[in-house]
Symmetry: C2
Subunit: 198 residues, 2 copies
């Protein structure tokens, strides 16, 4: 029914997460409204991203170089390592511009129910780095879920006796949240982790 | 902060309607999860759509040929013409597979407030076709809004005395709608257009 190139493009938009038939149709038609320069850039960017982006050989952050910008930046604090579960979280922290240490990206979180065991998430590579780079503190910035806490605890155990401070992000009530909508687990954690007002 | 090719791709997704910074970032990263064959197809489809798709020289439907599939299909009913305001609506009707006449796509609707006058929406081309192709009935399948009704009335006036039946889509309560959520204009129209139960 649709001309072939439109049909192909609709199918391609459906590859993307959260995009169904209707949205894919709308987006495919909207490509026709763009300028040729825009569609050329769009087309090339898709190929470039797939060809040029890979994991940093040191920290696993996605990069277009051998070593990512953060690993090769000599002005960063080399005593603190922030461990995240996904490259996108590196960029989230970088947007804050308040953390100046190094990062390490795991290949996900330990989740035995989903068949993801400790050996599947690249802990070896992290431990190699910790041995080599002599961090004073490791911050676990993992999702506050069973999987996230299992993963931090598992790695913390291995690091015992190495004289490294191991921390996790604070859990608690999000800024601006209505108290009545905060779930009870979060509230319990916020109560346990309460801080003295200074 | 992001590698250049990811940054470019995020900007490209933001060209699309309804896609802001956050969604663009999510979609750009999801491209990395696709297979190379998928990203190649995606990249090529964007270029192909822009290069190959244009308006049918007869009816303005988007097509990759000189004459669209519908105009060149000799089995269609040549006595009925369905006038729509956008190519996408042709495909909507074709999905129903209950209309077998021909289509004509206007370049939008008359809307003096937005500076769109009758000469801007391609009425000349429609009238040429009506003179040549001798339709018995013209169905206006335009949006039931002031612009849609202005456009149908304007063209109907021109067609007076040509012995052509001019119709519009029925307006009324959508199937499955809760009566309490139907707006009063729609309800009024549904009451005026009521049909005898057979």
């Amino acid at each position: 029914m649709y001309p072939k190139s439109i049909k192909d493009l609709i199918e391609c938009f459906k590859f993307l997460p959260g995009i169904g038939e209707k949205t894919a149709e709308r987006l495919a038609f909207s490509i026709l409204d763009l300028e040729v320069e825009q569609t050329n850039l769009f087309s090339d960017s898709i190929k470039n991203v797939k060809q040029q982006i890979h994991k940093c050989k040191n920290c696993n952050t996605l990069t277009d170089q051998d070593l990512c910008n953060i690993c090769s930046d000599s002005t960063r604090d080399t005593t603190v390592l922030c461990v995240v579960e996904d490259t996108r979280n590196v960029f989230l922290f970088e947007k804050l511009a308040t953390f100046h240490g190094k990062y390490h990206v795991l290949d996900g979180l330990i989740s035995p129910l989903d068949g993801v065991n400790p050996e599947d998430i690249g802990i070896e590579k992290l431990l190699d780095r910790i041995n080599k780079e002599k961090f004073h503190e490791i911050i676990f910035a993992l999702k506050p879920s069973i999987e996230g806490e299992t993963t931090s605890l598992y790695i913390k155990k291995i690091l015992e006796g190495m004289n490294i401070t191991v921390t996790r992000l604070a859990s608690g009530v999000p800024i601006g949240a209505d108290m009545e909508y905060v779930d009870s687990l979060t509230l319990e954690r916020a109560l346990n982790d309460r801080k003295e007002i200074e």
